[in-house]
């Protein structure tokens, strides 16, 4: 039996993760709205995005126990893009 979303992955944990994602999303929007974008702000916003992506990949997609190749690709996606985007703000 495939168990991408483990039965032990309780409803409460799911609600907590959803709240966490919502809170981080609102925080980044509030953080960036009033300020002019600086390289530091870009880095902070994209780091929060990386954390959100990790929650989505490991817990929602269920790749925490997936083969390393696929998990690594999905987990690296946001940080690699985040780094490239941050660099474009630096130059």
């Amino acid at each position: 039996m495939s168990n991408v979303v483990d039965a032990k992955f309780t409803g409460l944990k799911l609600i907590f993760l959803w709240c966490l994602l919502i809170a981080m999303t609102i925080a980044t929007a509030l953080l960036a709205e009033p300020y002019k974008v600086t390289i530091g702000l870009v880095a902070i916003v994209l780091m929060v995005t990386v954390v959100k992506a990790k929650v989505l990949v490991d817990s929602f997609m269920g790749l925490k126990d997936a083969p390393l190749f696929w998990r690594a690709i999905l987990l690296a996606y946001a940080p690699v893009l985040g780094l490239i985007i941050t660099l474009t703000y630096a130059f």
Partner: protein, 197 residues
């Protein structure tokens, strides 16, 4: 007792959820979007004033609403998977319906957003910023619509009893596709809406 007779601790099996073909498709989609994100970022760096002016006409609250709707939709898809694991078909279908409703909220916000920008007199060919803005967000929106069609098929098949705890690979494939659409938006949101100016 020889080494071969010593009981070995069981190594947990590494499982890729869903069908392998779907993961190849997901990999292709992620690559295409990665290229578009990088092109957007490089073009923004070349024309920062143009992009700052364009982003000033985009409502960050619309982007925020889109993000919250998609995250909520993903939440319901995971809840549907949990329900299916417990063979609770009715609950699974209801969670998919709620995921679809959240996706409808996303589409409604996106519709208002496009209308607002069009009323300001901007379109795909106005300048590079609007080309990327409409191109990226509309391309993503088509993926959301495709994902919604997948979710509808999953809901119908769950209702027909085609999936259960012992047979849910197809369901997982559809769910992973939906989460990929969400993952793409998690990067698109800060890139286009949050990091302005």
């Amino acid at each position: 007792m020889t080494a071969a007779e010593i009981p070995q601790p069981a190594i947990p099996e590494k499982i890729l959820p869903g069908d392998f073909a779907v993961w190849l498709f997901i990999l292709a989609e992620l690559s295409v979007f990665a290229l578009l994100f990088i092109l957007y970022a490089i073009t923004r760096a070349r024309f920062p004033e143009m992009f700052a002016e364009g982003q000033a006409n985009i409502n960050i609250n619309a982007g925020l609403g889109n993000t919250l709707a998609l995250l909520t939709s993903s939440y319901f898809v995971v809840a549907a998977q949990q329900a299916l694991l417990k063979n609770r078909s009715k609950r699974t279908v209801w969670n998919i319906v709620l995921a679809l409703l959240s996706a409808c909220v996303y589409l409604t916000i996106k519709g208002y957003e496009y209308l607002h920008v069009a009323e300001l007199g901007f379109g795909l060919s106005s300048n590079d910023f609007y080309f990327f803005y409409f191109g990226l967000t509309a391309f993503h929106m088509f993926h959301v619509i495709l994902g919604m069609l997948v979710l509808i098929v999953l809901a119908v098949k769950v209702a027909m009893g085609s999936y259960h705890a012992e047979r849910m690979s197809e369901f997982e494939s559809g769910a992973c596709y939906w989460h990929m659409v969400d993952l793409l938006w998690l990067i698109l949101f800060p890139l286009v809406y949050v990091l302005h100016g």
